[in-house]
Amino acid sequence: METSIFQYSFIIKGLLGAIFASITAGLAGTYVVSKRMVFLSGGITHASFGGIGIGYFLGINPVFGAAVFGILSALGVEYLSVKQKIREDSAIGILWAFGMAIGIIFIYLTPGYTPNLMSYLFGSILTVSNADIIALGTMSVILILYFGIFYRTILYISFDEVFARTYSSYVDIFKYITTSLIALTIVLNIRMAGVVLVISLLTIPPNIAMLFTRVYFKIVVWSILSGFIGTATGYVISYYAGIPVGATIIFTLVIIWVAVKGTIQLIGVISKMNNSSHFRHSKL
């Protein structure tokens, strides 16, 4: 009896986790991939590990520490690149390692055992709490509202910032808000996929989507769908095979990407062959 209740809540948690992870990662990921911010996002992710370490050290929720670190590093890089005081990729590279260093130092300094440390690095659905699911759900609503209401403003600023500045004085504000929301999305998804793997949760689904469409809005929809299929499938496989969930999800997503790309190319080759044989026939 107890096992079945446990299993039931485990499945619900997994399902909700998969839905919310794909919605948040799909919306944030499409922005990140379109705007070529993958490296920045990787930097934010790893910098947030500093917050996880400090969280452990102070005995507060490491996700909270990660959120603070994630947002501050995102805003820091945006600010530095706006002011052009330092090359953006260098700034990200420094932040990336610096955050990890802070995390490692503080975890080392934390007396006693640091519970669930591995889950922050590699992700684990077992340690995902109800509060984490609620946070991801709230984030999904916030992102849907934000991108829904300000769709064109966000799209146009990210496509051509210079031109956007000619008609809007809100360009920087929107950049800061969007980047902060992406940092938060990344941090909340760390619980699912881990610091090391979370960036792929954002980047693989839009790349699957872009095999079908080049329209921003449709990329979002396809990303969420393919993200959900990958996350849910990976979750089920990891449960039955007893292997880590984050890694399984990423593995599944990459397999989907390869399979779809392969199929599309195969169809292309076949239709080419058909066409050329038609052509030969018609010549005869």
């Binding site: 496509f159 329209v215 921003y216």
Partner: protein, 248 residues
């Protein structure tokens, strides 16, 4: 003739570095002015000041309130500003030219979309409204950005080095199109290619820290010398003393 804007002893600078000094410049309805000058002489800065991207350090810029409420300016930047691999359609790019009159919470109405389709047809981009930029040629991209600049039917059109788009087959069509647009809007065109533009424009503005207005579309090397505006006109040239009108 009604003026669109007037610059009075205007100076502009980036920090300590004064780029424009004591500029007096008036642009009227239906002007077609070629803005020329050496690299770093302040041509793009002049556009930035008109667009409100850079506040004048000294002096002022007065817009005619009836014709130009500070919003009715179309702008064609150099191609490099937008990412051509960005997943955004031609129609959506052209629609972004209407954002000027919309708030941050923007929905495009059926009327707006019809306007975009009209511009697409007018510029010969029919059938490409759902394409993305990386599927287009250089000349087609240029027309998309021109579409974005004119969809709001501005009173003033600013063009920054439109000749940079390498597509010679479209070049003549492009200048024909500008001539057509000039009947409903004033045009200010930045270019380093004096020879090419002289046959299309009505007058010159030579910018090299200061600005000298030359009220004719023919300009000689002596004029340019006198304006302190050295540019490579000779590159086109027969011999010094060339009047550019001769060779196109």
């Amino acid at each position: 003739m009604a003026y669109l804007f007037e610059m009075k002893s205007l100076s502009a600078s980036y920090g300590e570095n004064i780029v424009l000094h004591d500029v007096n410049f008036t642009v009227n309805e239906n002007d077609f002015i070629g803005v020329i000058g050496p690299n770093g002489g302040g041509k793009t800065t002049l556009l930035r000041v008109i667009l409100g991207l850079l506040k004048p350090a000294k002096g002022n810029l007065v817009f005619n309130s009836e014709l130009l409420d500070g919003n009715r300016i179309g702008y064609l930047p150099q191609i490099s500003t937008g990412d051509i691999n960005y997943p955004v359609t031609v129609r959506d790019i052209i629609l972004s030219g209407l954002m000027i009159r919309k708030g941050v919470i923007s929905r495009m109405s059926v009327i707006d979309k019809t306007k975009a389709d009209n511009v697409i047809e007018e510029l010969g981009l029919w059938g490409m409204s759902k394409s993305t930029l990386n599927e287009l040629s250089g000349g087609q991209m240029q027309r998309v950005f021109l579409g974005r600049a004119i969809i709001g039917n501005p009173k003033l059109l600013l063009l920054d080095e439109p000749g940079n788009f390498v597509d010679t087959t479209f070049e003549n069509d492009f200048y024909e199109k500008l001539k057509d647009l000039n009947s409903r809007m004033a045009i200010l065109m930045v270019s380093h290619d004096v020879g090419t533009i002289s046959s299309h424009i009505k007058s010159f503005a030579c910018v090299n820290r200061s600005l000298h207005y030359h009220p004719s579309h023919e300009i000689t090397n002596e004029d340019l010398q006198a304006y302190g505006c050295p540019i490579q006109v000779i590159a086109h040239g027969v011999i010094p003393h060339t009047v550019l009108k001769i060779h196109r």
